[in-house]
Symmetry: C2
Amino acid sequence: MTNDSAAESSVAVKKDSKGKSRTYRPGRIRERNRERILIAAEEEFALNGYKGTTIQNIAERAGLPKSNVLYYFSNKKRMYGAMFDDILARWNKVFTEISPEDDPAEALATFIRNKVEMSRKYPLASRLFAMEIIQGAPFLLDHLRTNMREWVRGRAEVIQSWIDDGRMAPVDPVQLIFLIWSSTQHYADFQVQILMVENKAEYEKRDFDHAAEFLTGVILRGCGLESPK
Amino acid sequence: MTNDSAAESSVAVKKDSKGKSRTYRPGRIRERNRERILIAAEEEFALNGYKGTTIQNIAERAGLPKSNVLYYFSNKKRMYGAMFDDILARWNKVFTEISPEDDPAEALATFIRNKVEMSRKYPLASRLFAMEIIQGAPFLLDHLRTNMREWVRGRAEVIQSWIDDGRMAPVDPVQLIFLIWSSTQHYADFQVQILMVENKAEYEKRDFDHAAEFLTGVILRGCGLESPK
DNA sequence: TCACTTGTTGTCCATTTGTTCAGGAGTCCG
DNA sequence: CGGACTCCTGAACAAATGGACAACAAGTGA
């Protein structure tokens, strides 16, 4: 997606000594360790940033020697890239399409709820993404320019059609998407700030429910819509 | 504020050989270089994160030898701290108080506009702050727990009083502050994403005006308020 | 001019870090 | 059991980095 690390998880095709081609399964050892490493990497990168993260730290967190980590991901950059491939794939699965026939209130509410749920379920991914963008998206620039642009454009067109049909207030659709994006993302990215300000030690499930409810309420009303009950 | 770097800019009081105390002006050499370094530091830290930034890079950007940078800020941590002291001071100056007597629509609109203006004027500061929080606020934890908590609490109380007086819809005041905070901050922090999605090379002033207008429109309406003209 | 402080800078060093590599252990299959 | 391949790992290394330091230059008030 963003780099050529895809080869890392694919099935290797090699030729044996007789020149015949044979296929080998990567085996589940590879699968398992790869995953372990990526999970550790997600935590470390989110906590310390790209440069601040050392392969040593990732290895320790994954309970493997550094050399072994480098056996799976030939270098740090690739690891970082592979992580984002994983994250983006995960996100893609969640966000369903919307269409002009949908009910605006329903669709927007669902979007907001999904996004908040995402912040709850994958806060590390959210933070990783945020840090990457803040630093100028050196790895994801291409993704932003292609996939994400198309994604936003598609949504914006549907929203615009709702507006044209007089089914919601005339607000800038792209700005609306940004608003939903940022306000929901905030619960993952600025977790510490929220916890400190609210004097809590940890999030609870109902905090997210409350947040989702608040956001749908205000944003829908802001779009001239009634919240679906 | 967050560390003891205050001493760095204060007037040094030393005793001379005879034991008499004398005061020396730091002179404007110190002032000027300090500022130059901090500006360079802001750019570097925002671009590469704490760990990713090297004193060498800061020095080069400031056009000084590394040793000279270390003469002004004895180590990297202190530099980082001094930077935030500057940033927080800058912010404090901008956000005026609100009171129960104010008009809710007027006050919220002003707040949103100020915050967007902040994103425009000091995008680096905003990003720096965001990265710090995302990484768990190792330097600003204390600030969040004290100053920021009080700040939010104070605002929330005023908003609540507006609600109690039936002057706006009953929305959670703290969540409302978070919403405004995140949605406005977004224009600075996720600049690259926005530019890519909108297929632009650079922000223009009117982009911010447009954003502020959109946000006040949606959020105020979401709070059951009319936008002040 | 003198005494003292402040400012400047090149050099040095211990440590960390990404990455390479060579060799060995484990696994699978005919 | 033997060969082919996958998986593992300790050791080594060049580059980079934060910081210490000493010697020197410039500024300042009396």
